[in-house]
């Protein structure tokens, strides 16, 4: 019997650099329409991980904190797909998510990467990859991957192969 459930992954990052490299690996596997939720305290490493995702995906401009503008829209040279990097800290209800055009982003077949997704959980698609980041020690972080939906089980399995080789 497996110790953790299908579609779950529990890993430790030992540094901000490693956190970013995890992000790079995940970013390279993303497909249009993917929804990634990064949940964790201030300073947990959500933006560091997201920056890695951007690198792995091939974003033209480096991903930086979207806190101020709430949404950063990214493009890459390979195709016309967009990657939306959102910070929902200052959104208090699902209805408010509408004011930043969340519906349009979800309909656009773009990739959505959320920080503070719990603030608008009701507005999020049911199918998504939820990543819970916990601070264990000053430089160590625990990443819990939870796949919701078939696509994300596949994604987590691919990601696991990428980083663990199995």
């Amino acid at each position: 019997m497996p110790i953790i459930k299908e579609g779950e992954l529990d890993i430790i990052s030992h540094s901000a650099e490693q956190t970013q490299r995890f992000g790079v690996r995940l970013g390279a596997l993303l497909q249009p329409g993917d929804v990634i939720c990064l949940s964790g305290d201030m300073g947990a490493g959500k933006t560091v991980f997201a920056t890695g995702i951007g690198k792995g995906w091939g974003a033209k401009h480096a991903l930086t904190s979207p806190t101020f503008n709430l949404v950063h829209e990214h493009t890459r040279d390979a195709d016309k797909v967009r990657l939306y990097h959102l910070d929902c800290y200052r959104l208090t209800t699902a209805a408010e998510a509408d004011t930043i055009g969340l519906d349009d982003m979800l309909d656009s077949a773009g990739i959505l990467v959320f920080e503070w997704p719990e603030h608008i959980e009701a507005a999020l698609p049911k199918k998504r990859l939820w990543i819970e980041i916990r601070v264990i020690e000053p430089t160590r972080r625990n990443f819990m991957f939870e796949a919701h939906g078939k696509r994300y089980e596949t994604l987590v399995a691919e990601f696991r192969r990428q980083i663990l080789g199995r």
Binding site: F68, N69, T99, I100, G101
Partner: protein
Amino acid sequence: MTHILGIETSCDETAASVVIDGKVIASNVVASQIDLHAAYGGVFPEVASRAHVEAIGPVVEQAMVDSGIGYDSLDAIAVTRGPGLVGSLLVGMNYAKGLALATGKPLLGINHLEGHVYSLWLSDMRSEPRFPILLLIISGGHTELLLMKGHGKYERLGGTLDDAAGEAFDKVGRLLGLPYPGGPHIERAAQNGNAAVFSFPRAKRDDSYDFSFSGLKTAVMREVTVQPSAEVRRKRKRGAEKKAQLRADVSVNDVAASFQVAVVEQIVSKTARAAKQYGVNEIFMAGGVSANQLLRAEMRKATQIPVRYPPLNLCTDNAAMIAAAAHYRYEAGLRDELDLDVKPMWPLTSDAYDK
């Protein structure tokens, strides 16, 4: 001679201003939403756009009345096109288009960052600036180091890799229980603090002109907050908001002072190095964080090159700077169409306006 009406709604200020020849402020009206947002510790988008909708008409009217210049005498209507909050930008853009249509005056969409640059031309300058100029734009949403070779000619040297400088002030302010916006409150607390108490990380020693404030923020948090016990962490609901608890034995003033010094040192060292390498004639600082007195003093100390910054009321968002930037674009014969769209993401480069 040009008379340009500027409109700015990219974030939390509804502002309008009439500027003559890109230099003389005929009127400058700013309806600040800071009180509205202070309760939340930051700008709330829905609150912001609703407040803009309510304020924009009276604010523009007031700017026109104050200036003593009629709509007929305007040469152009300038509006912030980006970067900023999409909902907020749209309020200003739509109002400006309506005015342009009603008055028959040309419309000019302006980059907010370029506006900050031109806030320098609005200050009482004894001499015209000499290019090349090193630009440091530091605010809640931006941290950019640019080389300005002429009007409208920019080369980006670096910027933040993670948080903007002002954002770091806001987040650390929140951690310390200080009101929003963090910048002025941290500066005030720091005056009564000892900056030598904590040694927070400084800039990475590399050749780049990029900044990073996220590690500093995390270091401050590590130093001054109580780590929740493993027990508490286990019992916490997944995704529940985790409020960091401030340690009882730390002095907020000392943390503020130590943090401020670390931020300032990083900004000053990179800027002074870039000024030397690119052989600039002047250094311009603009944006909300450029109001920080320690930053101004340290920057002047670090270099022999003249350092200019706008007066305090022009450091933060305003519309006079938008009208001033528009003057140079108007004089260059540039005009925008009425189907102009807003650009929430819009880096300032020489080809910024090309597409």
